[in-house]
């Protein structure tokens, strides 16, 4: 098992090539449920990112001790402890946001992406790489949440960054952008079906981009082919 991975490629994998929300499609339940606004998405994204970093680091630190038969239960214990700790910290320092995200914070435990990274990456790499992998995977997930939140918030309510004070306290009081004044509210975007459709659009956009780029890269090497 190669222990030397370049941190740059770890970042690229987590953010783009193996993006949890758009490529691997893990952790979709919270992704679909909380993304009715940017701030909710960002809140859950950051909490998931913190969980991934802490669990990856812990798993990597004890990777020498872990034997195959107890690996999975040990991961579950570690992840559950980390998530509970994050839940307590959020209650203490971001209580209002915790109330909004509610059940989805403890449910981070069930996000398969986290145990997936522990198994696939953290248990086989040195702590620094595992930490970076947790950061990259978490950031990729968080970005997807924020993008989907933005899409749904703009189309559903005509605003951006509503309720920012939940996350940023006083400083977030007046940052809400009203992009479409007197927006009548587009229910479909706010309700769960809007989350599915929005995610579908994001995945399609990513695939389209990847496809177009690979065509561009290949094009010079090939003979120009007339459209068939």
């Amino acid at each position: 098992m190669s222990n030397e991975v370049s941190l740059k490629s770890v970042m690229a994998e987590g953010l783009w090539h193996q993006n949890t929300g758009l490529v691997i499609l893990l952790g979709l339940c919270p992704l679909l449920a909380v993304t009715s606004t940017v701030i909710n998405g960002l809140g859950l994204g950051l909490a998931t990112m913190a969980t991934l970093m802490a669990s990856n680091l812990s798993v990597s630190l004890i990777r020498g001790l872990l034997r195959p038969e107890i690996r999975i239960p040990a991961f579950v214990l570690i992840i559950a402890s980390v998530v509970t700790a994050i839940e307590l910290l959020m209650k203490a320092w971001a209580y209002d946001l915790f109330q909004v995200l509610g059940i989805f914070i403890p449910l981070i435990v069930t996000n398969c992406a986290i145990i997936g990274r522990a198994e696939v990456f953290a248990s086989r790499h040195r702590p620094l790489a595992a930490l970076v992998d947790g950061f990259a995977t978490g950031a990729g997930f968080c970005l997807t949440l924020v993008l989907l939140g933005a899409l749904r918030e703009i189309s559903g309510r005509g605003t951006l960054l509503a309720d920012a004070s939940l996350l940023f306290g006083e400083a977030g009081q007046n940052v809400t952008l009203t992009l479409v004044p007197d927006h009548p509210g587009f229910l479909l975007a706010i309700l769960p079906p809007g989350a599915f459709i929005g995610l579908g659009l994001l995945i399609a956009a990513r695939n389209w981009y990847v496809h177009r780029r690979s065509q561009k890269n290949e094009a010079p090497a090939r003979e120009p082919v007339p459209a068939s």
Partner: protein, 212 residues
């Protein structure tokens, strides 16, 4: 057994170690955050109480002068209704009842209803709900001023027939495309007022707070 397979004991010990470490982490975080979390919870309750009853109206420790009443027939919920009692010196000033509207579009709507001793409403706020965003959520004060329409009202203002949304012949606005949510809230507030009218002596006097 251990002679056959010593590694199983090692594994168990390791797993135990992980569990102990996880528990230790939680114990530390719990101790660190306990006081702050209690303070946050109290802050939120006090902020909500403050919204339905101005601080200057009373001088007792509102959140400690509390009754819990279970009256399913009346309140239509099995959960106890919390009643906060506001006093100025020894004079009863108001109560704040945390009641439930069980018949919203999507589950319980929890409300705080503040009622002055004369039976008029000091304020109403929604504590929690799961109504549809964009349809039912104008009951939140952050989203619209609808909830302020209750201020100053009482059982005689409007007359009993008026305690309903306009669609049902009452005086309270419904929202475009959403009648169920405001109807549930209006009914719950009226229920709280009727309870207060019937039981206000009891609400203020029982049990004497000094003796509890």
């Amino acid at each position: 057994m251990s002679a056959e397979n010593p590694s199983i004991w090692r594994s168990a010990a390791l797993l135990g170690l992980v569990a102990v470490l996880g528990t230790a982490l939680l114990a530390v975080v719990h101790t660190m955050t306990r006081d702050r979390i209690t303070a946050q919870e109290r802050r939120v309750v006090l902020e909500q109480l403050h919204q339905v009853l101005p601080d200057s109206a009373y001088d007792n420790a509102l959140h400690e002068d509390v009754l819990r009443i279970t009256d399913e027939a009346f309140f239509q919920t099995q959960e106890p209704v919390t009643v906060y009692r506001a006093r100025l010196g020894t004079e009863p000033v108001a109560v704040i009842m945390q009641v439930v509207a069980p018949d919203g579009y999507n589950g319980d709507i929890k409300l705080l209803v503040g009622v002055y001793a004369d039976g008029s409403i000091s304020g109403v706020r929604v504590v929690s709900h799961r109504e549809t965003p964009g349809l039912g959520d104008p009951i939140e004060h952050q989203r619209s001023d609808w909830i302020l329409d209750f201020n100053g009202r009482s059982l005689g203002n409007p007359e009993p027939a008026g305690w309903a949304v306009r669609r049902d012949g009452g005086v309270f606005d419904q929202f475009t495309g959403a009648t169920i949510t405001p109807r549930a809230v209006v009914e719950a507030v009226e229920r709280a007022l009727r309870y207060f009218e019937a039981r206000h002596e009891y609400l203020f006097s029982y049990p004497e707070p000094e003796q509890t």
